[in-house]
Symmetry: C2
Subunit: 381 residues, 2 copies
């Protein structure tokens, strides 16, 4: 099987597992315990916090560990609501379901949610102020989109949001480890990260926050994570996140260059099949290409690719079961005929030129045979 679905999740780096193993065996203390076992676990979390902070140029005390990106997005959106007086939020039209879901739960409490449109290349409108009102408490725009890979100009957006007096959150789940993410210079008040998107373990993420006092607690209890997120820490998971962040930081430029070369090769292969990527003129993640294969006549392209040994998806894993067209492509105004047979290739560690060649060959063959069958059916009828 050739795995081309790294934006859904990545394999755990073997070096990361090695870093985790002591905390799945001898080092099993509860970090809240004051005895030797507990103190050893606490030190491991402190180190991981430094590693995660370094990946995004933040200070360790700005990192709040969570159970993943979805929870970090909820901490950002719901945590910014310090009182119960409903006000406004603004989100881009292409946010992940977890950001939209958190916003909807505020809508049910009487909040208004304004939607910031994107252009046909998936880029957030530059005049973001139009959606930011006097009572807008927080604006959320993702750093890079999980489907198209489009990278936003977060610094410019944050600057405009700050000028309006609102808090600015960016979901950097897909960006971190693929492009440089600098929290301190970005101007964002808070930033979401998830370990499993950068060869770390599932079940751990972080919200990086300018000052923890900006947020109210999400889970109350034992006071862990500066009181924002109580609960016995997932020590091995946090240690794994730290290690994955460290490798991602050290190896970022090499990984990105390798992916970009493979992606360019893939895109030129697609163009010979008459296929152009979505958002081709926007700045995109080096590992991501999303495109439609309207030449394929049928509805089972993904299934046929799966049978042929290629693991990929059409877009977000979280909406894999859905039949509705992608909200991201819809927001970009993609024409109806291009919403069928959408594929997203997302490259990762271990992908090679041979993988890309094989993919293009198999895709060409599937398109060809779908047409022959269709013609034969037509003749038979």
């Amino acid at each position: 099987m050739i795995y081309l679905d790294h934006n859904a999740t990545t394999p755990l780096d073997a070096r990361v597992l090695e870093a985790m193993l002591p905390y799945l065996t001898q080092q099993y203390g509860n970090p809240s315990s004051t005895h030797q076992h507990g103190r050893a676990a606490r030190r491991a979390i402190d180190s991981a916090r430094e590693q995660v902070a370094a990946l995004v140029n933040a200070r360790p005390e700005q990192v709040v560990f969570t159970s993943g990106g979805t929870e970090a997005n909820h901490l950002a959106l719901l945590g910014a609501v310090h009182d119960e007086t409903p006000a406004r939020l603004a989100l881009s039209a292409i946010e992940h379901a977890s950001v939209r879901g958190a916003a909807q739960s505020l809508e049910r409490r009487g909040w208004r949610v304004d939607v910031i449109p994107v252009d046909e290349q998936g880029r957030v409108a530059p005049d973001i102020e139009r959606q930011v009102h006097a009572d807008t408490r927080l604006v959320s725009v993702m750093w890079a989109n999980n489907e198209t890979g489009v990278v936003q100009d977060i610094r410019a957006i944050a600057k405009r949001v700050r000028k309006c007096g609102a808090l600015f959150h960016s979901d950097a789940t897909q960006a971190a480890g693929k492009v440089p993410v600098d929290f301190t210079t970005s101007g964002a008040h808070c930033l979401t990260l998830a370990a499993h998107k950068l060869n770390g373990p599932k079940g751990v993420g972080a919200l990086v926050v300018e000052r923890t006092s900006l947020l109210k607690p999400w889970l109350a209890g034992g006071g862990q994570e500066k009181g924002l997120r109580a609960g016995t820490e997932n020590v091995a998971g946090i240690v794994g996140f730290g290690a994955a962040a460290e490798y991602a930081r050290r190896e970022l430029s090499g990984r990105a260059a390798q992916w970009r070369a493979l992606r360019d090769k893939l895109e030129s292969g697609l163009r010979t099949l008459g296929i152009t990527p979505f958002a081709e003129h926007a700045e995109r993640l080096p590992n991501t290409v999303q495109f439609s294969v309207p030449q394929f006549e049928g509805e089972t392209l993904l299934e046929k690719l799966d049978q042929a040994g290629f693991t990929l998806s059409s877009g977000s894993a979280c909406s894999s079961g859905e039949i509705a067209p992608s909200h991201v492509l819809t927001a970009m105004g993609v024409a109806r005929e291009h919403l069928r047979n959408v594929l997203r290739v997302s490259l990762g560690a271990g992908n090679t030129e041979a993988d890309v060649d094989a993919f293009c060959t198999v895709l060409a063959g599937l398109i060809q045979s779908s047409r022959s069958w269709r013609r034969r059916d037509a003749i038979a009828v």
Copy 2:
């Protein structure tokens, strides 16, 4: 080091780690993906759900996986609030900080929280109806207390709460794997579990719920866990929880008998030192003894035991850093002089008679030498 702090956390069972390892290596799919990698991960979660359900005699579809006990307690208390009209909650006086914390966040939204007292043996008052009013939405009483180990008569309590028309939640974090916990016959509407208390991994827990429609979503997004708890699942953690639950179920009676024998030996050793356990006349967990050592003159008993190679705590790990006396012992009306030098021994897999003997000997020695030093100080003055 002799580890006697299993109520704080337990070492991961080596067999559980073995079950997890495939999901930390080759089986890395996102369970929401519809391709082969995703489907394999989904099947693993389904199996774990069956294993966890079997531990507490629930149906698999009643198990909602969370990031731990603290989150499960929040899902129970805050999830039961379907509308925003403030009403009432009732909690026992000895609940874990995470239950009290979740209740406090409702208090800030205008809810009233009634406290159900306990007797001097740590047992919840039988006339629980006195704290359950017409507008009481939910009552929460833990199955077994983390400090004293006192086990409540959950079936009788649930029956009375149901008669009053309220929902009943029980935090069974400390009970599961130590005493039989039968969700279906208990009468509870929801039940909290945490994997790391029964030799499973940290960072995973569950809320078992009669019908998921009783609760509103805690995390929104990709719709995982029947829409109650979105976010890419911690697959390896969930698989580990399943394995730990299966071993706990199969080995429960053997483990309990072994702990009970060790605990009885420990208690008889303590009695020769003039020490009686708290709640000695109540039904207690087979692995837990909490007691005060007023004979020790000083404030560093735990530290001295740590230096002597014994890892234990005074009570909850989550409040290890606190100086305030235990809210559990305070609620039981324990006299002031017995709130000093409190120790909690919580036994687990691997503890032996030799451990108990060594502990009693060292404790006797520390008491003895603290008195000699105190006398010498007195003479010197």
